[in-house]
Symmetry: C2
Subunit: 146 residues, 2 copies
């Protein structure tokens, strides 16, 4: 699966006439090895740990490429940092976010997606993307608050 993603990126790079560099390889490896919703800063630290000397700017630039290549998705939380998560082709999930501990739970709901398509259709829109975040307190934080 990681190999598959690397292929996806290489295909994209070839299509765009991008050069293959050590930096991009490292950043892709680091990104693919994670499973959280990481900020650029966090990614940058991991990258630097594995290859000191790689600059932040390169990490920023490369993550944008991943989005273009379709293997990452940007998400903006109210904390003001852009975070990146893996994007599996054809799959799109949404987020349930705990405002207590910032935990993020992913979910998918085909019924909601269908209703979203209905709404778009009703307004004559051709839908290309959507974002949905539910905010609340997770069971642990609820218990702590009570």
């Amino acid at each position: 699966m990681i190999l598959e993603k690397k292929k996806t990126f290489n295909a994209f790079a070839a299509r765009q006439g991008l050069r293959s560099t050590r930096q991009r390889d490292v950043i892709l490896d680091v990104f693919l090895a994670t499973h959280e919703h990481l900020s650029v800063e966090e990614l940058y630290l991991k990258v630097k740990a594995s290859q000191p000397g790689i600059g932040q700017a390169t990490v920023y630039r490369t993550l944008k490429l991943f989005v273009e290549a379709g293997l990452a998705r940007e998400m903006m939380l109210p904390d003001g940092q852009t975070r990146y998560e893996h994007q599996l082709v054809g799959e799109h999930h949404d987020h349930l976010i705990c405002t207590g501990c910032n935990a993020i739970i992913e979910f998918e709901d085909e019924q909601i997606e269908q209703l979203q398509r209905d709404i778009a259709k009703r307004h004559g829109f051709s839908l290309t993307a959507h974002k949905m975040q539910l905010y609340g307190l997770c069971p642990t934080c609820l218990r702590a608050t009570a």
Copy 2:
């Protein structure tokens, strides 16, 4: 209705021990007179037109108060600016956004809200808020693209 909102704010101000100032009155008037999803910058320009000398910082500070008072809602679009819209008590709508012309259409869907509550419940969350944006092309932009 505008009067009602002013009362809401005054009540909030009194509760918080806030002082009543000319600046806050002006900003509230300007805000209530709008019907779009305005950025702070846009609001600031309108405010300055009506009362030159009011600073940006005051507009930023005051809009946050409106949110706390429950009469405005923040929304962040991918353009990086925070926008504010009116918030009617008990009503919460979502947005359908045209990526061509940036038009914003508001909608409400009780079915989706119910499903959201179900999802939260399933994960043991106590839901406090949600954000949902659908992105696509509006009929006009669709026609222009074709």
